[in-house]
Symmetry: C2
Subunit: 129 residues, 2 copies
């Protein structure tokens, strides 16, 4: 049965909704990706984050390749229903395909960007070259 | 002069990029809205969050009506450049037009949604009825 949450989600013209993954303990924003109705339902059913990959146009079970799955601790929806917030436990402590803990590893400093993110793994080792 | 950050932003087909506003002290995700190049530049120049309202198709200087401006403490960009993360100080402690501290005031609990957000003001008092 479809979860009641799905009635409140405003999917966009492509049938997608953006989902923020936030570390449940530290509050660090790890990444933002998209879900369609099916992958949102699977996320709710399994307690693991399942996205829709816009670039590959396929279901993206986060961590299927890297092992860095995201266990869902809490699910929230914003006032107008077009954004979801998931508090998650990030296995392996790295959400980003670049090997960083967070995809937001670059910070604006004066007129430039600095990389001050925590790098957890070498992507070439995990995904192959 | 345009800030170097703008060269790294992947604006969408409408010329917009999504921006997460996160409380700089508590880590609470307050809201997500959009910026175009001009409002992003104004945000960087002024240190106050300036969005582009998709519904009203106009510049949205956050807090102009309610007084609840957002002072920028830190600016981050994600790995693929299509999402920005701003750590902000939320004046008035309420980011949401509903009067809640955060737009994500509804949480999934079992098969329903519960409102467990902190309500800071009555929107009718602030914006008029």
């Amino acid at each position: 049965m479809a979860h009641a949450l799905l009635d409140h989600v405003q999917f966009d013209d492509d049938g997608l909704v953006a989902a923020i993954a936030q570390d449940h303990a530290s509050g660090t924003v790890l990444m933002v990706a998209y879900m369609n109705a099916d992958t949102l339902q699977e996320t709710l059913d399994t307690g693991r984050m399942v996205y829709w990959s816009r670039s590959r146009q396929t279901v993206w079970r986060k961590g299927e390749t890297s092992g860095n799955v995201q266990h869902v601790h809490e699910v929230r929806i914003d006032c107008d229903g077009d954004m979801l917030l998931f508090k998650v436990e990030q296995v392996g402590n790295a959400a980003c395909h670049t090997g960083h803990q967070s995809c937001f590893y670059r910070r604006v400093e004066d007129e430039s960007l600095v990389n001050d993110g925590t790098k957890v793994f070498d992507p070439e080792t995990v995904y192959g070259s």
